[in-house]
């Protein structure tokens, strides 16, 4: 940790990460209680990536997200009530219930949209960066994607153009070790960093469980992009604690319980930050408890809001097909 942080900022990071954790735990519960339609891909375990990156972004910067997108959306400023409403297919949701878990989009927070097509947002993010450059705006775009997306052609077509034209875009690869149920080693030749290297693109690898490390690395590449020095590839090594989606309960055929336990106990980004602060006596554990209680209460209220919210009226179905 090279930077100096004040306690408020550190607690804010904790708060942001816990918001995601609490939201996702509630989502899992909503699924298990059969209140939420469909499935959701939980972000628990990876919170430091979204928070570290988004804290380094300005409000008017853009992100694109993935099927595992709740964390990105919340970190960029989405609110609980409208998120839950969207997850439950309710009218006040971010997309009036039309998008659901995998498609949350919100111009107010600079969210170009979550995408259920693996690698599908690489073009969008790169195009937004081109647009910023053409309009002379100093906004930066972060393209979040999982390591599985590194096998889709579009990602490379986009990275090539971004580097060629020095576009202000960050390709943030969240390597959580698995493409669905398959370890990345079985699907990926060569190294992750060898890929940006082929284009001569700036690349940084970071511990995705350490929010401060992510924040600092992100800050560097974002500033670089903002200054017009071109795109970067930000590799964050992380882990999802739960299944590929909420229904993925039996995981023994592709990863071990021990592995999961190790990450949950030794590599939990929230615990890591809390312990780091406690070690330095920057705060005491009651503060964390207080933050957690406040957030859980907020989640509870938001869920009640979403449950009580109306479904979209029938007329909504053919609205917004064309602009």
């Amino acid at each position: 940790m090279s930077k100096e942080y004040d306690v408020e900022q550190l607690l804010h990071f904790y708060q942001q990460m816990f918001r995601i954790r609490a939201f996702e735990e509630k989502t899992n519960e909503l699924y298990q209680r059969a209140i939420m339609p469909g499935l959701a891909h939980l972000y628990i375990g990876e919170e430091a990536v979204a928070v570290g990156v988004c804290e380094a972004l300005r409000k008017d910067d853009y992100i694109t997200s993935t099927h595992r997108g709740h964390g990105h959306c919340l970190a960029k400023g989405a609110s609980f009530d409208r998120m839950f409403a969207e997850l439950l297919g309710k009218h006040p949701g971010y997309c009036h219930g039309k998008g659901g878990s995998m498609h949350i989009a919100d111009p107010d927070s600079g969210n170009l949209g979550a995408n259920a097509i693996v690698g599908g947002s690489a073009g969008i993010a790169t195009g937004a960066a081109l647009s910023m450059k053409m309009q002379g705006l100093d906004r930066v775009v972060v393209c979040f994607f999982g390591e599985g997306a590194l096998n889709e052609g579009l990602v490379y077509e986009s990275m090539n153009m971004a580097q060629l034209w020095k576009l202000p875009v960050i390709y943030c690869c969240e390597n959580n070790l698995y493409n669905e149920y398959t370890p990345y080693q079985e699907t990926t030749a060569g190294t992750f960093l060898g890929r940006p290297a082929a284009f001569g693109m700036n690349a940084v690898e970071v511990d995705g469980q350490d929010v401060l490390a992510v924040y600092e690395a992100a800050g560097q590449v974002i500033e670089r992009a903002r200054k017009g020095e071109g795109p970067s590839f930000l590799l964050c090594n992380t882990y999802r604690f739960y299944g590929h989606h909420v229904g993925d309960i039996d995981r023994s055929y592709y990863r071990s319980k021990e592995e999961e336990l190790y990450w949950m106990t030794e590599r939990d980004p929230l615990k890591l930050l809390a312990n780091w602060m406690l070690d330095r006596k920057l705060t005491d554990s009651n503060v964390f408890t207080q933050i957690e209680n406040e957030i859980r209460a907020e989640v509870e209220a938001a869920v009640q809001f979403a449950i009580n919210a109306p479904y979209p009226p029938k007329e909504e179905v053919d609205q917004h097909v064309y602009a």
């Binding site: 297919g89 889709e152 055929y253």
Partner: protein, 332 residues
């Protein structure tokens, strides 16, 4: 009515699994490639057990690279193998479209019949799983539009197995669309070897008052509607084309000639889709036998919405079929 009296009932998913396993035992050239198809046995677990029997060399877990695995399938097919390419969701076939449309479909023709592409692409269609716009589409019409591709859309475990076996043995590229909501559907499937030829429709219910043409899971919507209609004295005939390309036009036309009314039900979007093609074939072939316009029911022309409150409005239901049939039969 070709379902034999079989004692054994298995699910649609098991039928698909059996078809692939039997063909792989029969022909060492057959192999599968796709995302999460080995130990995971696909997201829908349909292929469970295959990797244990055939090993990772023939059940190949691929990177997430739809264009790549389809292209690889084309090349392997041209040079002596018989690949089955698994595209997890029908929505992702768009990523493989160049390989399917510009390559697989045209190679035999462009080469003057010198090369051929004996490949099967296995994918899904169907909504109502609350999976939203990028995981719920029924894009089969896209492929039906392309000369050189064959397209099947089975509706029962029996048909799924028999058609898939024929598809694997076919020397042209065949795309099979399975409704992801039907994998748990049970039905009689005889033990032992059988195939169903491509291009032959099946009459799933005999009737005389109106023809309901259903594809894939819409066959069950049609059958459900037929049951309700029977209660008010309308005997619907349910025709399942089974193969969408090439189409068994004769069976479709003859049924419409017999009943003088027809509704075509398919889960693809209504505009420019499978229903339009079949309706036009019926209108043309049975024109002087029709007592009412040929009607169509398909997915509403909107991206499939996530919210159950909206999603259920977008796909044809038995109630809609019943209403339409009553109107056509002058019963309202």
């Amino acid at each position: 009515m070709s379902t034999p009296n079989a004692v054994r009932e298995i699910t649609f998913g098991q039928a698909v699994n059996e078809a692939i396993a039997e063909e792989m035992r029969r022909d060492p050239r057959v192999f599968m490639i796709g995302e999460d198809i080995a130990e995971a046995g696909t997201t829908f677990k349909v292929l469970k057990g295959l990797v244990e029997e055939f090993g990772k060399e023939r059940i190949i877990d691929s990177p997430i690279a739809e264009a790549g695995i389809t292209g690889i399938g084309v090349g392997a097919a041209m040079t002596g193998m018989r690949p089955i390419v698994d595209i997890m969701f029908g929505d992702f076939i768009t990523l493989a479209m160049d390989q399917l449309v510009n390559q697989a479909a045209k190679i035999h023709y462009m080469s003057g019949g010198k090369w051929s592409v004996p490949m099967v692409v296995r994918t899904t269609l169907g909504a109502t799983r609350r999976s939203a716009a990028q995981h719920s589409q029924s894009l089969h019409a896209w492929l039906c539009h392309i000369p050189g591709l064959k397209v099947i859309a089975p509706s029962t475990p029996y048909d799924a197995k028999g058609l898939l076996k024929s598809a694997i043995r076919d020397n042209s590229p065949v795309v099979t669309f399975e409704d992801k909501m039907m994998f748990q559907l049970k039905g009689p499937v005889p033990e032992g070897e059988y195939t169903i030829p491509l291009g032959v429709a099946d009459i799933k219910r005999v009737g005389k008052d109106i023809t309901l043409v259903g594809t894939s899971s819409m066959v069950h919507v049609a059958l459900e509607a037929a049951k309700i209609l029977a209660e008010i004295g309308i005997e619907a005939e349910v025709v399942d084309p089974r193969t969408l390309k090439p189409l068994d036009t004769e069976t479709l036309i003859n049924s419409a000639k017999k009943t003088s009314r027809a509704i075509v039900i398919d889960e693809g979007h209504l505009s420019y889709g499978v229903t339009a093609e079949i309706a036009s074939i019926i209108a043309d072939g049975a024109f002087y036998y029709l007592d009412a316009p040929v009607k169509r029911l398909g997915a509403m022309d909107v991206p499939i919405p996530f919210s159950p409150a909206l999603e259920d409005l977008t796909v044809p239901t038995p109630a809609q079929v019943v209403e339409m049939a009553k109107t056509l039969c002058g019963r309202v």
